[in-house]
Point group: C2
Chain length 218, copies 2
């Protein structure tokens, strides 16, 4: 298998793992949702995430690779992030899912720009559908609007989350050559030694927009 | 709304709630699955359960009723069962999902025989798809086959589970007239005072078959 095809499989494996982790996050939030309405909404979001993940696994299989193996290469990659960001309230858990997933999706999208079609199209499509998973955003935005103390606590928590999430991205770029190569193809006009800073700037800007949509200071 | 239509809505609400609870059970088991393979398999089962549940909610909406309200009427109906059957191991949790869901599905199926079409067809179809959710069964059967101590503990746990599950059925029949009427239509040749015993006999027989498929004594 040539290097470009293998880089694509690395990213597909990461996308599948991130979506499986997100599914787990949403379902855990669903179980503890304060009302049946929120429980149903979060469960529905989780179901959509899993359906997308299955499309990615299907693509890995289609090119003759092992879906579980490719996804399994990233098993545990979020454990450190999870251990360092244990939510102390249901709201913090919801925001964690939203921010953590947001950063992961933005990173995968940046890296996917370095893929060839049809993988680039597939990942973009899978992650674009992800933008519809805005139900938790509505839940947070409504609560924050009516409770300034909650809003200020969640803003602080959001800064903590994005810092830890960028730490995961940094490790992925350092430890997995495929991602550094994909990002280099995406940002080919950015000098090598500025590329990580460029990635962080993109991800931070997206995070700021995302927090703004929640009515929270980034 | 006539009584038959309302009885149908009662059952559809129960089916939707049971499927949502099952979704939660599977996803909780998925998070703690010992391997990524089992985690993916249980997540997939959960996704299938939720897709079925959405079909039921869609039908409730189609006839002009409130899906969340109809489902919400049963919110908490499994809390007592859950509190009385807290699994002490991951395996007990898996078996709980399998047995608890099995009894619930069998009861809903019995009651659905008392519905008119298209609801009878819908519920039968939704619950038949459920039979494909046998991944946790395979996981249990394999583990039980290779570990007689585990098998014997799980057999005991299964008896505990089915007893508690039948308790839930008994309360539903006593407290919700719709289910007694639906079962009466299903088992119209069984005398009124023997009908609950008849329901229990059906459910117990199905449970015995189910445990047999796992290689466990019922």
């Amino acid at each position: 298998m040539d290097s470009r095809a293998d880089d694509a499989l690395e990213l597909l494996g990461l996308v599948a793992y991130v979506e499986l982790a997100t599914f787990g996050r949403f379902t855990a939030d669903a179980v503890h949702a304060p009302t049946l309405r929120e429980r149903q909404a979060l469960s529905r979001s989780a179901g959509e995430v899993l359906a997308r993940q299955e499309r990615v696994l299907g693509r890995i299989e289609e090119v003759g690779a092992d879906p579980l193996g490719r996804m399994g290469a990233f098993d545990g990659v979020l454990d450190d992030f999870d251990a360092r960001t244990v939510p102390s309230t249901w709201w913090e858990g919801i925001l964690k899912g939203y921010v953590g997933y947001g950063v992961a999706v933005d990173f995968c999208r940046l890296a996917a720009d370095g893929l060839d079609d049809p993988d680039r199209d597939l990942v973009a499509g899978v992650l674009a559908v992800g933008e519809r998973v805005e139900r938790s955003a509505t839940v947070i935005a409504e609560a924050a609007a009516s409770d300034p103390v909650l809003a200020s606590r969640l803003a602080l928590w959001g800064r903590r989350l994005v810092g830890e999430a960028l730490g995961v991205v940094q490790r992925l770029l350092a430890e997995r050559g495929a991602f550094a190569r994909l990002v280099a193809r995406t940002a080919h006009d950015v000098p090598d030694d500025r590329r990580q800073a460029w990635v962080f700037a993109q991800l931070t800007a997206e995070h700021t927009r995302r927090m703004g949509r929640l009515g929270l200071a980034a």
